[in-house]
Structures are given as structure tokens and as C-alpha cells.
């Protein structure tokens, strides 16, 4: 048994190329995504169609351009240019000022500003329109305060819990850990077992005195070690480079990570009992796991926003539960009492996967 595990370790670690990818990948990904990915919108290119070109419109345009959200790309001269500019895809927003703006404002005639967003990207469009509106409101508020007729009665004091600077990396670190563990565990195991079947070495293993259980433990042991190393690397990077806090108990976190790893491994084994060739194993784990793990787990898009049917479906994604666990422990500092449900679900999934694999595992090959 020990000899078999050692053989498997050699088998994986002698493959330098895979090793480099395996250990280099998490580092590169976390650095790349941590710095590059953000849901905030900065520096969106906009165009202005100013029919008035007076002091007030200049002032408002300056206020918009200096807000940090927008870069003024160009001044349009006619309405017919708008559609062309959108079609070229360079600008995201057009702000139109009506004629005689300053004069109308002075007379109290309520001059108009019209904002057009390129809603082929609806997220960005609605955010940008709201940003622009807020800036204009701000300008209005300044005008009103000068007339001193408006005062706040209830003063809200907003406070952002757990992530006061609203950093995007707090979402991505847990997500990337989950995606990577899923890949390394589920994909690598399923493929490496399918490989033994495909090449024919599985028969050699099956006629050996090793029990099927021992064969499988031997196969997955190296991946457990690999994945734990990866998880620790990512957590360390998140902590030192991106200032992810570690509020909770690190032992609890690593235990949960180990549970998730075992879950993913048993899933990989289950896939390999179904798939005959590496290609099939890869496609099931890739197509079946990659996009759902990214999209249905709350990694990028909040699950609460999805239609009810998909919210129900997301419950069978192990990654969803693990992401909740990581966030709770790292960012909120919660104890096991708050996440026992999620933990139990992961344990249950593991048991089901192992049970199904044992049922499917055939000692004889067709």
C-alpha cells in the first residue's frame, strides 16, 4: 500500500511540466485577477452633445469629467453622430444639454439634460447613468443649498461591514481558491484514473493484490497534498499582497478546505467510473464543472439575483457552499456554529459521491 502511494507520488512529481503549471498557475492567476478584475467602473469614455455651450454646461461637464468615473472622449456636434459612435463601440454614454441652458436655469425654466447609455452592456449602462445622475444631483444640491431652503431631517450613517473599501479581491480570492481546488482535485483524478483504463494499466492494478479501495486511496493521496499546498499558497498571497483579513480560525479554515478537497476528489472518482476515455472524463469535468463553478456558485454573480429555479439548482453546486464557508471564516470571523449547515452539506455530498463510485466501480473490465 505504501509502495503504491509512493509510486503515485513519483508518477505525478516527475512530470516537471505539470508541476510548473500546477504550482505556478495559482500564483499567476491570483495576482492577475486580484489586480485586474473589478466590478467597479472607472474611466468610462463618454461623449457630450452640448447645444448650449455656456458657463453652466461647461461647469457641469467639468464636474462629470473630473469625477474619476468618466473620460470625456469627444464633443459631438449633432444628434445623428450618436448612433455611429455607439456602433463603433468606443463610447459608453452620451450626455445632451438643451439650448440656452444657463438662461433657462436662471429664469427657473428647468433646462433639460438627457443621458443616453449604450445598454448593449446593461450592467455598465445602468451604473454609468446613475453615476452621471448623482453628479448632476450634486450640482443641483449645491444650487439649492445656496438658496438655503433644504435641510436633512433623518441623517443616515452608512457603514460597510467586513470590507469598508469595497475591494473586489474579497470576492475573487475565495472564488479562485474554489475553482482551482475543483480543477486540481476533480479533473486531475478523473483523468488520471481514466488514463489507466485507456492505456490498459488499470488491468495490471486490478489483478494485483491491492483492493479497489486501496487503489483509489493511493491515486488520490498525492492530489490531496498538492491541493492543500495550493490552497495555502493562495491564502498567503491573498493575505500579504491583497490585505485579505483572516478574522477567523485558520485551523477551521484548513479543515474545511480539506473537506472540500476530499469532496472534489470523490467527485473526480465518480466521473472516472463513468468515463471510459480521458477525453470523455475531461469533457464531463470541464464542461460540467468549469462554467457552473464560475457562474452558479456566487463567485462572480450573486446567487440571490438569479431566477428561483437556478437558485434551487445552485444548491447542488458544492462550490457554492465552500465559497460561503471561506467568506464567513476569513472575512466575518464566524465560528463553526454559523456554518455547520454548509459543512454538513459538503460532508453529505462526499458520502453520496463515494457511495455512487463504489456502486459503479467494476473490478472486471469489459
Amino acid at each position: 500500500m505504501r509502495g503504491f502511494i509512493i509510486k503515485e507520488f513519483y508518477h505525478i512529481f516527475r512530470d516537471v511540466r505539470t508541476m510548473i503549471i500546477l504550482f505556478g498557475m495559482p500564483v499567476i492567476q491570483i495576482l492577475l485577477f486580484g489586480f485586474a478584475l473589478t466590478n467597479e467602473i472607472k474611466n468610462a469614455r463618454i461623449a457630450v452633445l452640448d447645444h448650449s455651450k455656456d458657463d453652466v454646461t461647461m461647469e457641469i461637464i467639468n464636474k462629470i469629467a473630473s469625477s474619476g468615473y468618466f473620460i470625456l472622449d469627444e464633443n459631438l456636434s449633432s444628434e445623428s453622430d450618436i448612433e455611429d459612435r455607439f456602433r463603433e463601440g468606443k463610447i459608453r454614454l452620451v450626455i445632451i444639454f438643451e439650448q440656452n441652458f444657463a438662461e433657462n436655469l436662471l429664469k427657473g425654466n428647468k433646462p433639460g439634460i438627457h443621458i443616453i447609455g449604450d445598454a448593449s452592456d446593461p450592467n455598465t449602462a445602468s451604473l454609468l447613468v446613475n453615476y452621471a445622475l448623482a453628479i448632476i444631483r450634486d450640482y443641483e444640491a449645491d444650487l439649492i443649498i445656496n438658496q438655503a431652503s433644504f435641510n436633512m431631517i433623518i441623517l443616515p450613517e452608512p457603514k460597510m461591514l467586513f470590507n469598508p473599501e469595497l475591494k473586489g479581491v474579497f470576492m475573487f480570492v475565495p472564488g479562485i481558491i474554489t475553482v482551482l481546488l475543483m480543477l486540481v482535485c476533480a479533473m486531475m483524478t478523473s483523468i488520471s484514473i481514466a488514463r489507466e483504463k485507456e492505456i490498459g494499466t488499470m488491468e495490471v492494478l486490478l489483478v494485483s493484490p491491492l483492493k479497489p479501495f486501496q487503489i483509489i486511496v493511493g491515486k488520490v493521496a498525492p492530489y490531496v497534498v498538492l491541493s492543500l499546498v495550493n490552497a495555502v499558497t493562495i491564502l498567503t498571497l491573498g493575505y500579504f499582497v491583497f490585505g485579505m483579513p483572516m478574522q477567523g480560525n485558520i485551523v477551521l479554515l484548513l479543515t474545511e478546505a480539506l473537506l472540500f478537497i476530499i469532496m472534489a476528489l470523490s467527485m473526480g472518482i465518480l466521473i472516472s467510473t463513468i468515463a471510459k476515455t480521458q477525453q470523455v472524463a475531461m469533457f464531463i469535468s470541464l464542461a460540467g464543472l468549469m462554467l457552473p463553478t464560475i457562474l452558479l456558485s456566487g463567485f462572480i454573480f450573486p446567487i440571490e439575483n438569479m431566477p428561483v429555479a437556478l437558485q434551487v439548482l445552485s444548491n447542488i453546486m458544492p462550490s457554492k457552499w465552500f465559497i460561503i464557508i471561506i467568506k464567513s471564516i476569513m472575512l466575518k470571523g464566524t465560528e463553526i456554529v454559523y456554518i455547520w449547515k454548509e459543512t454538513l452539506i459538503l460532508i453529505l455530498m462526499t458520502v453520496i459521491f463515494i457511495g455512487l463510485s463504489i456502486k459503479n466501480f467494476k473490478i472486471r473490465l469489459a
Binding site: 485577477f33 456602433r87 438627457h114 448593449s120 431631517i153 488514463r195 464567513s328
Partner: protein, 369 residues
């Protein structure tokens, strides 16, 4: 030419005789498209709110009523304990907590400023900013009501602002995501099927048999890549039909143009796949390397998060990301009806990319065998 046809024939037979694989290739991507198109939205439907009312007065109840009356809020708990609120936040039952202090009504009636504390779970920073803004505007609204009731002067907005959304007036997120997901599915098929197939011959050893036949390198490579190029394009056609029939996504531009860009784009993908297969010896390695490339390409493509807000160095990286070009172009053509002139820059870059990728890959291939 005859040799080429034989090779192509062999590849197609190999591809289609594996029934499981055929099902995976054609059914799985479509199922994914159907499901995943619904997931990708940042739109917040409901905010789970915990109200801590330490005042228990008419005014505090009125403020609470303002929230319970709004379809955007669900009041999960109405208590007078900060600890219970904290517990709800920790257990994810509540996303926001409003604390109304004990002297709320007294402060209001004496004309002073009544403070209300608003706490938001900000782990998801983008969502938190939105929730915060929603709630602030509800409180603002409540303020205005109070002003009107107390006979105060209503401050009217001096500027009339209006807005409109072009190309997608209802802000339908599926219109935005479906074209992007189509690109992904086509890419995954092209990249993995072809790359793995080549390496498989290496791994099993059959490549040596082919190497000793009079088949020329270019015939072999075309024979290996062309089938997947065709399969991916067929896949795209299926996807577009689904997008039209199921999601009713507008296709304003020319379908022919989409396929033209897709055809060029797939050459890039196949070139990359070929390159990966020259650098690897086993299917496991090939898969791993492709996976790595793909995850970087996907997340950096502007598909989920805007490229505009990336730092400059990251934008430079996206210049080398074929997915970023195709995602941008397919959205432009489908949603805005952009024509050849509008997408010329992206198309030219893709053509250059395809030539470079294929040349390097073929050159590398010759050296290794």
C-alpha cells in the same frame, strides 16, 4: 488532395463513432447556454433587511413601513437587539441592518437631526454599493415626505434630467450574456477537442505510424484541425438558433459577418491548441495547459467584468486575448448592428493573430517530430 480527404474522413469517423462524445459535444453546450444565460446578472431583486428599532415610536414604525412597503426589501427581522442583528449578518440571513436609535422621535419632533445607522455586508463590494444607494434613496424619500407634512418648502429640482437606454431599453441582461457565452462554448470545443486529439496520437504512439507514411505535415495538420473548425462553426449555428428562439436575442447585424469573424477567430483558437499540443506529451498536460490559458482568457476578456476599469497593464494583456476581440465583436454585431467597417480593427487584429498563431504552431510542430 485525395490524401487530405482520406485523413478528414478518418478523423470524422473517429469523432462520431464515440456516441458519448457526440452527445457531450452537442448537448452539453446547449444545456449550459440555456441555464447559464440566466445566472449572469448583477441586478439586485430583493434586499434582506434587519431593522433594530430601539425607539418603538410612531415615527420609527413609519420609517420601517416605508421599507416593508417596497418590493425591493424583505424585512427578515424586527427586533430591538444589536446582537440579534449581528447574528443575522453573520449567518447571512440579513444583508443590511438599520438601527433606529432610542431618541429618534424626540429628535425629530424637536426639529433636530435624527441619526439612523445603516450597516451593509460589503463582502461583495459592488452589490454593497448598490444596496447602500437604494436604501439611502428610500430614506431620502422619507425625508421629503416629512418635509411636505411639516409644511416645509419642497425643494424642486432646478434641472430636468431624463435618460434612455439604447440597443436594449429594458436592460435585459440575457441580451448581453448570451452572445458572450456562445463565444465561450465555441472556444471550449475548438481548443480542447483539437488539442487533446493531437496529443492523444502522441500518447498512444500512433503518431509515429503516421509520421512514417507519405502524408505531408500540412495535410496531417489540416486533417487534424479542419474537423474541429467545422464542428465549432456548426455549434455556433445551433447556439445562434437557440439564442433567437429561446431568448429572443436580437440579431441586428449580419449573420454572415458573425460567421466570418468566427471562422477567423477559430483559426486563432486552433492555432493555440496546436501550439499547446506541441508543447505537451500527455492529454493530462495538454488539458491542464489549455485550461490555464482558457481561464485567464475568459476572466480577462471583458465577458464578466468591464475591461475599461482594468489597470493599464491589464488592458495591455487583453490585446493578446482572442476571446476579448470576439466577445466585443459578437456583441457589437448582434446588439448594435455594427457593420464590417465598425469591426474592421478587431477583425484585422484577429487575422494577424491567426496567422501568427498558426505559423508558430506549425513551425514548432515540425521541430518536435
Amino acid at each position: 488532395m485525395r490524401t487530405l480527404i482520406f485523413i478528414l474522413n478518418k478523423e470524422f469517423i473517429q469523432l462520431f463513432r464515440n456516441k458519448v462524445m457526440v452527445r457531450i459535444i452537442f448537448v452539453l453546450p446547449m444545456v449550459q447556454l440555456l441555464i447559464l444565460a440566466y445566472t449572469a446578472t448583477y441586478e439586485i431583486k430583493v434586499i434582506r433587511l434587519h431593522v433594530v428599532d430601539l425607539d418603538r415610536s410612531l415615527s420609527s414604525r413609519e420609517l420601517t413601513g416605508h421599507f416593508s412597503g417596497s418590493p425591493f426589501y424583505r424585512i427578515v427581522n424586527y427586533t430591538n437587539s444589536n446582537e440579534l442583528a449581528e447574528r443575522d449578518i453573520l449567518a447571512n440571513r440579513a444583508q443590511q441592518v438599520i438601527t433606529i436609535p432610542a431618541d429618534f422621535e424626540k429628535d425629530l419632533s424637536t426639529g433636530g437631526i435624527a441619526k439612523v445607522q445603516l450597516e451593509t455586508n460589503a463582502i461583495d463590494g459592488a452589490a454593497a454599493a448598490l444596496m447602500n444607494a437604494y436604501t439611502l434613496s428610500v430614506i431620502q424619500d422619507f425625508n421629503l415626505n416629512l418635509l411636505v407634512e411639516s409644511g416645509g418648502i419642497i425643494a424642486e429640482a432646478p434641472i430636468k434630467t431624463s435618460w434612455s437606454f439604447w440597443f436594449n431599453p429594458e436592460l435585459n441582461y440575457k441580451n448581453y450574456m448570451v452572445p458572450g457565452i456562445l463565444v465561450l462554448l465555441v472556444t471550449i470545443i475548438g481548443m480542447f477537442l483539437s488539442g487533446m486529439n493531437l496529443v492523444k496520437e502522441k500518447e498512444i504512439g500512433t503518431i509515429e505510424q503516421i509520421n512514417v507514411t507519405p502524408i505531408k505535415k500540412y495535410q496531417f495538420i489540416i486533417g487534424k484541425l479542419l474537423p474541429y473548425w467545422i464542428v465549432a462553426l456548426v455549434e455556433l449555428a445551433f447556439g445562434l438558433i437557440l439564442a433567437k428562439l429561446v431568448f429572443n436575442i436580437p440579431i441586428l447585424g449580419s449573420v454572415g459577418l458573425i460567421f466570418l469573424v468566427a471562422a477567423v477567430y477559430l483559426l486563432v483558437v486552433l492555432g493555440l491548441a496546436l501550439f499547446v499540443s506541441t508543447k505537451t506529451n500527455t492529454q493530462q498536460q495538454a488539458m491542464f495547459l489549455s485550461w490555464f490559458l482558457l481561464v485567464v482568457f475568459i476572466l480577462m476578456s471583458g465577458l464578466f467584468t468591464p475591461i475599461d476599469s482594468m489597470p493599464q497593464w491589464a488592458k495591455v494583456i487583453t490585446w493578446f486575448n482572442p476571446i476579448a476581440y470576439f466577445v466585443e465583436v459578437i456583441r457589437m454585431i448582434m446588439l448594435k448592428g455594427s457593420g464590417l467597417a465598425d469591426i474592421m480593427r478587431n477583425l484585422t487584429l484577429l487575422i494577424v493573430y491567426a496567422m501568427v498563431a498558426l505559423t508558430v504552431a506549425v513551425w514548432q510542430y515540425r521541430k518536435t517530430t
